[in-house]
């Protein structure tokens, strides 16, 4: 009996010694899509015996400061566009990498989503031709979008490629602000992802997609003159986990969590596609995508 107690005590002590706390830092308000996914990841990690610490920050600046003082096993979950790895740095939520005490790298992407241009339910401009028609009659076409470097570039680029349509670009803080605004018809077209499904269900029309080969007109193909079509990039974006120092054990456990049923269910809930290391997309591949897109936008914006 004594030996059994000794063994149990040794096991308990060794498991405590081996347990590593993993911190997830979120720079977005609680209750959003990133929070739902982090909850799912945390639930699975806790099942695996890990201790998870979840922190909310009012800004990426604060999250980076925290990471600078708590480097070990600290991950920040954020949109691709909110941390810049290349040279583009206009409007990203996170400070430029040069300001970081420790180099931050991508651990893995988590999920991706597709962007599109959707007409507000009830708005008559449900096609490119109709938009042109309305504009030629003197109507301003208001596009509502969530503020951020990629979104802003994309809508600005789209508007600049279509000078015959009188577009007015209206930035909003996020989906929370966009929803009541579209209900009140404060804008006519929505560019984004979060409200796309909801608006289509309510009678909105997906006029164009920011991704090729989706069965819907590619936004880049809506351009004047037609010769500039090819210069329009696809809007490939998603959410990733970044870190400055993650132990190998934690890396493995998070990879398991990313494949778990908890995460699969969470992604279903937010209508997103799973990606990342658990699905064969390496961190370096995600980094390449992010930098490529930054370069493309940088090039176009010049």
């Amino acid at each position: 009996m004594k030996n059994l107690i000794k063994i149990l005590m040794c096991l308990a002590i060794s498991s405590v010694a081996n347990a590593e706390e993993i911190t997830f830092s979120n720079i977005y308000p609680p209750g959003g899509s990133t929070d739902i996914v982090v909850t799912a990841i945390s639930d699975n990690l806790e099942k695996q015996g890990e201790t998870v610490n979840r922190q909310y920050f009012k800004s990426c600046y604060d999250a980076i400061q925290y990471m600078n003082s708590n480097t070990k096993n600290n991950l920040i979950i954020l949109d691709y566009e909110d941390m810049v790895f290349g040279n583009l740095n206009k409007g990203a939520k996170c400070p430029p990498q040069v300001d970081y005490k420790n180099k931050i790298s991508i651990y893995s992407s988590v999920y991706e989503f597709s962007y599109g241009l959707v007409s507000v339910p009830g708005f008559t401009g449900t096609s490119y031709a109709k938009l042109k028609e309305l504009s030629s009659a003197g109507t301003k076409i208001r596009i509502g979008y969530s503020v951020g470097p990629y979104n802003t570039y994309m809508v600005k680029l789209f508007a600049s490629r279509n000078p015959s349509i009188n577009f007015v670009l209206l930035p909003y803080a996020g989906t929370g602000a966009l929803r009541p605004a579209y209900l009140a018809k404060d804008f006519d077209l929505y560019y984004g992802s979060g409200l796309k499904k909801e608006m289509i269900e309510r009678g909105g029309v997906l006029i164009a997609s920011a991704k090729r080969n989706t069965g819907v007109t590619f936004m880049g193909d809506l351009a004047e003159p037609e010769s500039i079509k090819n210069e329009f990039p696809e809007h490939q974006t998603g959410v990733m986990l970044v870190t400055s120092n993650l132990s190998t054990t934690s890396q493995d456990k998070i990879a398991i969590a990313l494949k778990s049923i908890e995460v699969v269910n969470a992604l279903k809930k937010i209508d997103a596609t799973a990606t990342g290391i658990a699905h064969g997309v390496s961190a370096s591949e995600t980094l390449k995508r992010v930098i490529d897109f930054e370069k493309k936008l940088e090039q176009i914006s010049k």
């Binding site: 920050f57 800004s59 600046y61 604060d62 803080a173 009541p180 009140a184």
Partner: protein, 446 residues
Amino acid sequence: MELFLVLVLAIFVGILAGLLPGIGAGMVIISAYPILQKCDINTIFFFYIVLITTMQYYGSISSIIFGVMGEPTSQPAVDNGHELFRRGLGDKTLATTATSSFIASLFGVLVFCVCAKYSTFLIMFLSAIFKVSILTSVLLLLVATNKNKLFGIVLLLLGLVFGSAGSEIVPWINQVFPKYSVFDGGIPFSALLTGFIVIPTLLSYSLESKPIPVFNSSSLDISFKSKIKNLLDFSYFTSTLRGSIVGCVAGIIPGVSYTISSNLAEMIEKFLNKKSNTNEALTKNILSAEAANNAGSIVVLIPLLLFAIPIVPSEALIMSLVQANGFNYLTGLSFISKHFVIITFLLVFVNLINWFISGYCYKFIIDLYKFLGKYGYTLTLIGSTIIVLITGYNDNQFLYTTYVLLISTICGSLIKDTGTKMIFVFSFFVASDLVPDFYRLYLTYF
């Protein structure tokens, strides 16, 4: 069980805040902000509904008995109620005031229910133009009713600028607050407002040399039968009804709301009574004023709960809390439809409890007031400061929070009038909605 705990806590806090002059709903929310931040939408709203309903019953007690005017709504209670008390009608006045407040609250609940049931057609209230019109009119009315209008405008603009810190919508904000700095997350409002309003106010009360009015509560020891008789006295029902209507109409008007409705109702009653100074006239005045106050406090919830639009500063604080939890117009509508019965029940039940406590158990309230008069301000002051600093530490912003608290305390101490400060508070809290909406309207029309 959770709802019950929230109910008990909110009633308790509401009684304390109502009894202590100068402590309004806004100040309670600011003090409790760090705790409420951790709560879900239901808890925050239930707490607020119970708090604001409860507070209206108790401000008049200290006004009637001690002649203490804590806030503008207490003026009619001081003028009429305290005079009645001095004429030996304290017990009757306290009981009938509670009854009048109760009837008016039920009237307000009825109006609330009608609006909640027929709200879907009111979607137009969400538009930027409507919001900008309402919020701007509230701000302008606050400035217009302020003694020093120029200073009011300065505070209004400062509130809009500081409240916009960290905003990514309006380009010029980055010129004022550098991007990639502590300002990215905005200015910590609990620290700013605790320093700007709570600490200077509580400090001035704590250091006040004027003693709490001496009062022998044993003179209010009347029989059970007499208390019940007073409580069920509906002699001046028409005055109560008039006050309720005034409260409901004024309560929904931004900038007027329940803070001015009691004065408005008293004015109307005085006009009808031809400025008479008889016991009957004074009773009618106070009953109408208190009715307006209570009905207004219920109706003022309609724009907040149905349209997610705050029209008084304390609602702006609540809005910022629930917005962080994803509350908006859509979730608001579902919140109302999902909790309609609970909210209605809560409003009726809480009013019933407060009617009884304020109209029957006022001796206990008086004793509590006497105790708090000595220690309440100091305890609240220390508690608020500690809570803010702990929150700053938990948010990894201890130094930043401490600086903001210090600077805002200095600024808040230099401005004596709480009404003037509230211009800053309101504009600070609506800035995140108002400034981007203004900017988008500018982009659309210019």
